[in-house]
């Protein structure tokens, strides 16, 4: 739960969400696409770099990326399990 809040803060502080408020989003909220946080492929570049800089996490392929970026919960779980910082 704490990591989800941390990720929401990280995203809203570093990615242009067009003024959207992330407080209503939870673990089940998709990260990409209209139904969730609304991030697109260019935001993915920012997000991947943020994960690398803040947690030392690298994502090697789309197979892995698809599972990790499914929603906020899967991303938080991956961060918790793999963070180096």
């Amino acid at each position: 739960m704490q990591t989800i809040e941390e990720l929401k803060q990280l995203i809203s502080a570093n990615i242009d969400l067009g003024g959207a408020d992330l407080s209503g989003f939870d673990a089940a909220s998709p990260i990409f696409g209209e139904k969730g946080l609304g991030l697109d492929s260019l935001d993915a570049v920012e997000l991947i770099m943020l994960l690398q800089k803040k947690y030392g996490i690298t994502i090697e392929n789309m197979q892995q990326g698809r599972e990790i970026f499914k929603d906020l919960g899967t991303l938080a779980a991956y961060v918790d399990a793999n963070r180096k910082k």
Binding site: S41, L42, A44
Partner: protein, 297 residues
């Protein structure tokens, strides 16, 4: 959407196979002979002339229908020759690549920095052969490539049923392929992409000046360069005559991290547009974007 290109081949699968057969039987020369009437027939087609009209008007300002026709014919003939040479490379395995010692050394220096390299080219000259043939980058190569199901041109390795000498990254894939692109650069790879083709939503493009008008160019490669620190090498591959093409570095630059506002990266897209314009001035019949590149929508 800013995407007004299709990626579909101009010629049918049968015509491609016929040219492949000619190359196999009589080599490149026999295939070239066949191109004269074939290209004439294509150029007589109004729909074909429409595809090249915007470029010819801007590049040559023809004063009569006849002048326009001559420019269209020369443009189409050069394109057909580059495609024939690509097939000949695959079938016969022969091509000469002309490059300067300085450019080769620069490529190697860039690769040796181990930050990856974003190699931007355009739909001009012999871009198709380039990825399969340049060996100065002693690093794994990745190609950002969307293949239209109606693309009938065989790639060089497909003529030999061989494994591709590079890895494809599909920009139509999940997240536009950015996960793979970033991984490729992180491993010091050379990411080859077309700097003159937008893909997807209008938000993914930047406007730049090109041949007196405004065109949409992709933005993502400049943001990728800024985020990863990978240098951008703008390279073009002019057709130099039968079975010969050049590999020329037009520009090398790094992109500082200027934040997520895409307009901050417009000067870098403009650098690409300027390099492409210089190419079109030097090689006027080698710009092969067969659609209205200047169309705004």
């Amino acid at each position: 959407m800013t995407q007004s290109w299709t990626g579909a081949s101009l010629a049918s699968r049968f015509k491609h196979r016929f040219v492949y057969a000619l190359i196999f039987i009589g080599g490149r020369f026999l295939a070239y002979l066949f191109l004269y009437p074939l290209v004439l027939a294509y150029t007589l087609s109004p729909s074909m002339r429409r595809k090249s009209r915007a470029y010819i008007q801007r590049r040559f300002s023809p004063r009569s229908a006849w002048q326009f026709f001559k420019h269209a014919y020369r443009l189409n003939l050069t394109f057909a020759r580059t495609l024939t040479d690509r097939a000949a490379l695959g079938i016969l395995g022969r091509v000469d690549i002309v490059s300067s010692r300085e450019d080769r050394a620069l490529c190697q220096r860039l690769a040796d920095e181990h930050k990856g390299v974003i190699m931007l080219s355009g739909h001009c000259g012999c871009w198709q052969q380039a990825a399969a043939s340049i060996h100065f980058f002693n690093s794994p190569k990745y190609i950002v490539y969307y293949r239209n199901p109606k693309d009938n041109d065989k790639m060089v390795h497909e003529h030999r049923s061989a494994k591709a000498p590079f890895t494809f990254i599909n920009p139509a894939g999940p997240l536009g392929g950015v996960v793979e692109m970033m991984a490729a650069l992180r491993h010091g790879g050379v990411l080859c992409a077309m700097g003159d083709r937008t893909f997807g939503a209008a938000g993914n493009s930047l406007r730049a000046r090109f041949l007196g008008g405004s065109v949409a160019l992709p933005y993502s490669f400049y943001r990728l360069a800024a985020c990863t620190g990978a240098p951008v090498a703008v390279m073009f591959f002019p057709w130099l005559g039968e079975g010969r093409f050049g590999a020329e570095i037009a520009e090398v630059f790094t992109v500082p991290d200027l934040g997520p506002d895409k307009q901050n990266y417009a000067p870098y897209a403009q650098k690409f547009a300027d390099a492409l314009e210089a190419f079109c001035v030097k090689y006027p019949y080698q710009f092969f974007n067969y659609y209205n590149f200047w169309e705004t929508n």
